[in-house]
Point group: D2
């Protein structure tokens, strides 16, 4: 049984800041957002968590193994180095979407995302005793994306195809299983999942093939942390490549 | 009449690199990708262009005002500081998708995205005489995203809504007008467009409201560069906010 | 009694790389070096260590609290994201210079800094049981640098003054006590020290005043980690400011 | 005859900020400082200027080729992405130290480095008509630093040697020629110089050998920009290596 600890990272009062006193240069905002994400990826990632850029002003992280002290330090360090601050909400549950529901509420309960009074919220519960099988990570990838799309279509039309596949998978996994799927670049999608069977992964792949016409394969891993589960998933995906299969478990 | 210069930025042979000799830590890949994007955003952005992260291994930039020398310098500088190199293809056209078609072909013609032999391609044509009205940028934004989604739903369900709005808009704008729409974080979408009328923007907004149930507004700007057009679009979007309108031109 | 764990971080075969195939753009090298240092500062710093830029191709870190696994992860992560790799040597001793001697030897024994065959060395011993008083950090600072130099002289002449003060202190502390003093920007010098008395700090300050004509003050802290000792030192330095004294212990 | 344009970059009111409300984590300050420098190195460097970290809170740049608009954009972009702002002063002169004198005064005249009221000063004069020989860059380097120091001594004792060589050179070049010498990492020193003869460079090298016991060699280049002059200097330094000489002009 999984026990996923998820953290919502929300930039405080970011919307108003982007247009005060005048709308800021878009490329500076893009730089700020992507570097903030990179810093989170290093902090969380070097502690074996995963963080996803999601909407950039709101990011989601799988943080099993990071406790309250780690979260407080992250918050302090970002506050020391950026012109904006972040709020953090944390939740734990067997079903990922439920963990995120809790995490989000902890931040929402302290005030609006666009409240000038609310800053650096740190709320929620942490998963104390970690277990080997707490996390399931599924790493999905498009079959032969290079040959079918990248080398053949213009980049925007390739992007539309990949994006449709992603949109289809994200909705399906969320509705069917309460799983959270994130696009991570290229043709890759990483999903934080509860326990699912081989058949359930085949169904997801079939669904995307039918709805969006995109052929996925998937490697699935488990571990005490996102990195452990995720690196297992990557190796399983390599197995798919060598075996020519669509679903492999680590 | 617009004359959009677009650059395709493609990381050379990136797929194989990510799994050689073993699959690399995902958070290191995420850090690499987002910092590479941030560096491009600073280089291109400080020359008044716009760059979009798209799939991160393939990025699209509006580069009016940047010539071949600028592109060569960017390529050299990335090669000096990253463990990967980039290829660049450039195209110019009245219709954005046509410019990108050309840009992509320049890179594709030199070899596959996953060819070990192909590196640091720099091909294409540049827009020589820039004119005031060469670029049209439309900055779309969701109405009251904070009140309707961010402060109310869990972050993943918010993300699904925003993402559906984006998927709907990106397809519509591409098919109806050959325009390229990019999600830039939060609830914001920036589109590189040809000349379009107020009605055509209203139609796009209506389409997204019907198909995805997401209410957009849009500010539209024009200029010799993406920044000029884009900052105009941002000011026009502020006009929408103050006037309570859905479409404003700078 | 102190037990300082020091790590030498050396970029592998960096000299040849900077001129292959042609001398690389200096500002790209500067960017690479300072970002590598920033990444080390975040990795080590968020685990309560301190790292100093020293010569940038060779950096020194106080790493009490970081074990072999942490060092291996740091090395892997840098290797994933930079065009260069790093070797790490670690030593522990009561006297800082002795710890560094050991740390350096571990790297030197594996081959030359400019050997194409030597890469990603990870050698040395780690301090297993950490104690409250393992580290002593002294934070030195110039009295009224703003009024005496920054606001009055041209920046280079200010720099010469500060730099002379630093050169004087670094030699004195190394020779008299085996302590390692690092310039950290502005008018600040941070020294990793063995146990020293108030008088010994006064002597150091007197020496610099006489030799270089620069008036320093110093706050001294102790702790199980560099951050703990260092933040104590910073508070002690604030005490100097409020009390008008030259040496304060946390 | 040279015409060097120098820019002083000063972080506004930085001292007080580092201790408000409490002393900030040193490694966050180090990260902030080195990333700010890296961003300046990219902005200035990609426009063929050079920037030196100096004291990090005050940096010096050779900015021939960058006009007032470039400086204003740099200032705006840093303000958009950092929790601190920067002031810029610019001066032009045949003698580098005179140019910096002017540049510094422009900032000093607007208020103290530690005044809460003074922010984002942008003052000074710009070199309008650039000429081929406006800049002289001398790239000094220690002979066989690897064999004599890095591979043999502990890193701190190596550092002391290099640092003594630097201290000696910086004072000599400033006093004898009004030239500004900056340590750039490893065993490298880059100097912004007026027109000097081969003999004058030999004298400088002799001085350092006698005073500090460090054997330097130097390549000298000229150009309309720092990069042009600097890349010439690097090639000339390679000539020293191949010819076994101590001074080479590009
Ligand atoms: N984030 C992330 N992206 C990856 C990873 N591996 C590959 N990619 C991306 O996926 C793109 C396509 O690479 P591949 O999936 O290897 O190529 P493909 O043509 O689809 O080939 P097959 O998947 O083997 O059928 C690359 O350019 C990367 O952007 C990974 O581990 N993480
Ligand atoms: N990239 C980018 N994102 C922005 C910009 N302005 C706002 N955002 C993002 O949009 C999010 C929502 O902000 P707003 O659009 O101001 O808020 P809202 O609740 O939708 O309110 P209205 O749009 O005024 O109805 C912010 O958190 C940012 O992520 C911008 O100029 N550029
Ligand atoms: N690295 C680092 N630098 C600091 C710190 N505090 C101040 N500085 C630097 O020191 C410079 C001078 O600041 P202060 O020391 O506060 O100013 P001062 O004029 O010398 O005044 P007093 O020290 O109070 O006499 C600042 O610009 C910073 O660069 C710190 O905690 N760490
Ligand atoms: N900033 C900078 N540093 C460099 C450059 N070239 C070399 N270095 C540094 O200098 C160090 C020593 O390299 P070298 O000077 O090639 O080595 P050496 O042993 O002194 O050999 P010789 O100079 O050839 O006698 C390297 O580790 C780098 O840190 C350069 O172009 N710029
Ligand atoms: Ca694939
Ligand atoms: Ca909005
Ligand atoms: Ca001071
Ligand atoms: Ca050398």
């Amino acid at each position: 049984m999984t026990a996923t600890q998820l953290t919502l990272i929300q930039i405080d009062n970011y919307g108003p800041w982007t247009v005060t006193p005048e709308p800021r240069r878009e490329m500076d905002l893009q730089t700020l957002q992507s570097r903030l994400f990179a810093d989170l990826a290093q902090f969380v990632g070097s502690r074996d968590g995963y963080v996803f850029f999601t909407r950039f002003d709101n990011m989601v992280a799988a943080t099993n193994g990071l406790d309250r002290t780690d979260h407080a330090l992250l918050q302090e360090s970002i506050g020391n180095r950026y012109p904006v601050t972040i709020s953090l909400g944390v939740g734990v549950d067997e079903v990922p979407i439920e963990a995120l529901e809790t995490a989000t509420e902890r931040v929402q309960d302290a005030g609006s995302a666009q409240s000038a009074d609310r800053a650096e919220v740190l709320g929620g519960e942490f998963h104390e005793d970690s277990g080997d099988g707490d996390l399931r990570i599924a790493h999905f990838d498009v079959n032969d994306a290079t040959g079918k799309y990248t080398d053949r279509l213009n980049e925007f039309d390739t992007f539309i195809e990949i994006e449709q596949g992603y949109a289809s998978l994200m909705r399906y996994m969320r509705e069917a299983h309460g799983a959270l799927s994130f696009f991570v670049g290229g043709d890759n999608i990483i999903a934080i999942c509860p326990d699912l069977s081989v058949e359930e992964y085949h169904d997801a792949i079939d669904h995307v093939a039918e709805e969006a016409g995109v052929q996925l394969k998937v490697g699935v891993g488990r571990g005490a942390t996102a990195h452990e589960a995720g690196i297992g998933a990557k190796h399983a995906l390599e197995d798919c490549r060598y075996e020519g299969t669509l679903v492999e478990f680590a």
